[in-house]
């Protein structure tokens, strides 16, 4: 391909895309330069995903032009994009679990020997060479499914090199990484820069953008708002561009102090493989935060106290009533429920409507003699859609069409509609952007204010410090420290988490 070395690596101009009833993108520009990291940010439904899916050849643009290295390009399929040097690393990693690292990397172009059979030795050596270029060591013979997410991500990036990609797009790459893994990822991204590759970095985490990006483009409601060097931005100015207003308080605290009645009491809880002697109490009106590194046992604790996972010993009481038998049906009946960390696989019924998703846990209350009173169900659901400002074109729309923040509001409403005493939220803002985050925070604050007990598992330190009344730190399945928020510092929390 003939290309002008001075033209940008990629120029998208006037990109427009419509879905039935929604303008996803209108007249959006994006220009990438080799050796630079270009951050792409925006709220839910701002159009980031649509834009990178067009770049990946998953969606077709309705209008506008894409030039790669100065040459007009048509991206009709993901194969086209790959062939033209664009590699997109999606949030859901697309490796084949049963294949080795090396096989995954060269999936589309296995090296073959003279008789046409796959040259396994060369395959491994080539894979190793790629990792050397990235400054990262992975066993090329390991099976993909045995690797942690962070390593799988590195394999995806190595695939980009294998395809001689000039443009690498990363969609929320740090959403399931520990701080250490994030540091490693950034080292690799800097290596990509030094190889002259243009990197598009999609993230909700503003501090990361200030650390790694050179340029930042903000989208809002499918429109291009600004493109500036990162140095020209402050955190506030970025947020303002994203939501079109200034967030004075990301963590508004409107509620009063916690009340005295204990709604959740956990005594000496142990499970077969993770939790050891965990005890705590949560009062009405209180947000009790759990901090810990990946694998500390927070998600296991969340699933055990709602009755989802079996326990070996210990006592759980909700509103003074023991959780016995230990199952979710009893849990929900006593008034405890879990907002899971993994919306897609554990929370949503993707193909089903907003209404059906929201009413699931409360449906029994709308039934007379086993028949669902649909009018009552609908008006209750509509009430929560209005109250929580869920942005949806209609109650009958499949929930997969909603943005992450709005899906999360629907799942939270699933429990509000049911009416719980204790709500356990596990990473409530994962994969959600700033504007929707502050709405979720306000909701959690309001829930506590209305007298619910909230147990919050999070790895986001600001979230933890901003919302909790008390904080427990977990490490290796135990609680290593419990403190009121006033006494908590980032350093103190971290040292207890490492203990």
């Amino acid at each position: 391909m003939l290309s002008d070395p001075h033209s940008p690596a990629l120029a998208m101009q006037g990109i427009g895309k419509q879905f039935p009833g929604v303008v996803a993108l209108a007249d959006v520009d994006l220009t990438l330069t080799g050796g630079q990291v270009h951050a792409l940010i925006g709220e839910n439904g701002a159009g980031k995903s649509t834009l990178i899916k067009i770049l990946a050849g998953v969606y077709q643009k309705d209008s506008g032009s894409i030039r790669i290295g100065g040459v007009e390009a048509e991206l009709r399929t993901p194969r086209d994009a790959l062939r033209l040097g664009i590699k997109v690393v999606f949030q859901e990693i697309a490796l084949i679990p049963e294949f080795t690292v090396a096989e995954n990397i060269f999936l589309e172009r296995h090296p073959v020997n003279r008789i046409g059979s796959i040259a396994w030795g060369k395959l491994r050596a080539d894979a190793k060479a790629l990792f050397d270029r990235l400054g990262f060591a992975v066993d090329p013979g390991a099976r993909a499914r045995d690797l942690p997410i962070s390593t799988q991500q590195m394999v995806e990036i190595a695939r980009a090199l294998a395809h001689e990609a000039r443009i690498v797009v990363m969609d929320e790459p740090t959403s399931s990484l520990t701080p250490k893994e994030v540091a490693l990822l950034f080292t690799v991204i800097r290596r990509l820069k030094s190889l002259g590759i243009a990197v598009v970095y999609v993230s909700h985490k503003l501090d990361e953008i200030f650390e790694i990006a050179d340029t930042v483009t903000v989208l809002r409601d499918g429109r291009h708002i600004s493109t500036k060097p990162v140095a020209a931005h402050t955190q506030d100015s970025l947020i303002q561009d994203m939501i079109g207003r200034r967030i004075e308080f990301l963590f508004p605290r409107a509620r009063g102090p916690a009340r005295s009645d204990v709604l959740l009491s956990v005594r000496g809880l142990s499970t077969k493989d993770k939790l050891r002697d965990v005890s705590f109490e949560v009062r009405a009106g209180e947000v009790f935060g759990f901090f810990g590194l990946l694998g500390a046992g927070r998600t296991e604790l969340a699933k055990a106290i709602v009755g989802f996972d079996p326990i070996r010993s210990g006592e759980i009481a909700i509103g003074g009533q023991p959780l016995r038998p230990h199952d979710t049906r009893t849990g929900v009946a006593l008034g405890i429920g879990l907002l899971t960390e993994d919306r897609k696989t554990e929370g949503l019924m993707l193909e089903q409507s907003v209404q059906h998703n929201m009413s699931l846990a409360a449906l029994g209350g709308f039934a007379v003699a086993g028949f669902v009173q649909e009018a009552r169900e609908r008006s209750a659901v509509q009430g929560f859609v209005d109250r929580l400002r869920v942005r949806t074109p209609g109650l009958d729309r499949p929930i997969r069409d909603l943005s992450g923040g709005n899906q999360q509001k629907v799942l939270l409403s699933r429990w509000l509609l049911r009416g719980l005493k204790v709500i356990v939220v596990d990473e409530p803002t994962r994969g959600i952007d700033v504007g929707a985050k502050s709405e979720i925070f306000a909701l959690i604050d309001r829930l506590a204010g209305e007298g619910h007990a909230v147990v919050m598992m999070t790895s986001e330190m600001p979230e933890l410090l901003g919302l909790s009344d008390r904080i427990a730190v977990m490490a290796n399945g135990r609680i290593t420290a419990t403190m009121p928020r006033a006494d908590a510092t980032q350093e103190g929390l971290l040292s207890a988490a490492i203990a």
């Binding site: 849990g331 899971t340 019924m349 649909e374 009958d396 699933r414």
Partner: protein
């Protein structure tokens, strides 16, 4: 999702196309009309009353079991033992009627036997946690062998009760009794799936079993109910079939489970669970049975009775993905 009420009236062909885009069963309806049109052009007796009744009676047998299978598939499970159970049930029904001389006793025996098979399947799946595909293949093998331990040959009608023959061959007014039974089953399951807690929970279970459990649903009981309902419906069908054949045939029902599952899948119910409709299943059954009938009255080689439906399933499923894609993008 665009419901039909939102579609603006448009003139002529545009209107038909718009209506099709909004109707999930559009492909099947068009297919069914085309089939009926084509067969009747080639063989005028297709529209004779006798032939229509024959088609409906054949469809009734499949539809009754398919209603249960639709429920199971929506909930994310499957039952491959229905064919083997059907044959065994017929033998049990005829034998019980012979011994007791009472049609109600024979009918109860059929329901009890097939219901127990469903219960067994359900317990193996929910308590022993065996995948339903494997569990019900095992049940199928047990029943196929077991029926020969029970009777070496067909159980003949020794009671000569007119009421027994009436179940399969009789009429109520102008309607054959099996067709009326199928209509009643259809209505009941349709309402159960659309308007009851049972139905809504079944869809939820198939769509996301973890979410269903976290929401406090009685997941095991729900699955068990699906298997028992399917079992009972096999009982009804076994009784009708045995009445129609005037004997309990241990070899009856071979491949019946495949016809049923084919009809359900053709009707748009997802093998992955969480998605499907009974209207689709009805259309799926009719399409398969009209094809069967067409092959017979056109005097084609009967082996086409397997070949043509196979091709139709691939074509209809493909057309449906095309339709969905058109609508989505």
């Amino acid at each position: 999702m665009a419901s039909s009420s939102q579609i603006q009236p448009q003139p002529g062909a545009g209107r038909i196309a718009a209506a099709m885009a909004g109707q999930p069963q559009a492909v099947l309806i068009v297919l069914l009309l085309l089939l009926c049109g084509a067969i009747s052009l080639a063989a005028a007796q297709f529209y004779s009353l006798a032939n229509i009744i024959a088609i409906l009676r054949q469809s009734a047998l499949v539809l009754i079991v398919a209603a249960g299978m639709t429920t199971l598939l929506i909930g994310g499970e499957v039952d491959l033992s229905v064919g083997a159970s059907l044959a065994f049930t017929g033998c049990v029904a005829m034998d019980a009627t012979n011994r007791s001389g009472s049609v109600p006793v024979g009918a109860l025996a059929a329901l009890a036997f097939a219901g127990a098979v469903g219960l067994f399947n359900g317990l193996v799946v929910t308590r022993l946690r065996v995948n339903s595909l494997i569990a019900t293949i095992a049940t199928m093998m047990i029943l196929q062998g077991g029926v020969y331990l029970y009777t070496r040959e067909a159980v003949q009608n020794q009671h000569h009760l007119a009421a027994f023959t009436g179940i399969g061959a009789g009429y109520l007014g102008a309607f054959p009794i099996p067709v009326l039974l199928a209509a009643a089953v259809f209505a009941a399951v349709y309402i159960a799936l659309r308007h009851t807690l049972f139905g809504r929970y079944t869809y939820a279970l198939g769509a996301n079993p973890i979410a269903a459990r976290l929401s406090g649903l009685r997941v095991r009981r729900l699955k068990l109910a699906g298997f028992v309902i399917t079992g009972l419906l096999v009982g009804v069908t076994g009784l009708i079939l045995c009445s129609l054949m005037n004997a309990g045939q241990p070899t009856a029902g071979r491949g019946f489970e495949l016809t049923v599952i084919a009809a359900v899948i053709l009707g748009g119910t997802s093998l992955a669970g969480g998605r499907g409709s009974l209207i689709g299943t009805l259309l799926g059954v009719l399409v398969l049975k009209v094809i069967d009938n067409g092959i017979i009255i056109l005097r084609w080689n009967q082996d086409f009775q397997m070949v043509v439906p196979g091709v139709v399933i691939v074509a209809a499923t493909w057309l449906d993905t095309v339709r969905v894609r058109r609508r989505a993008v």
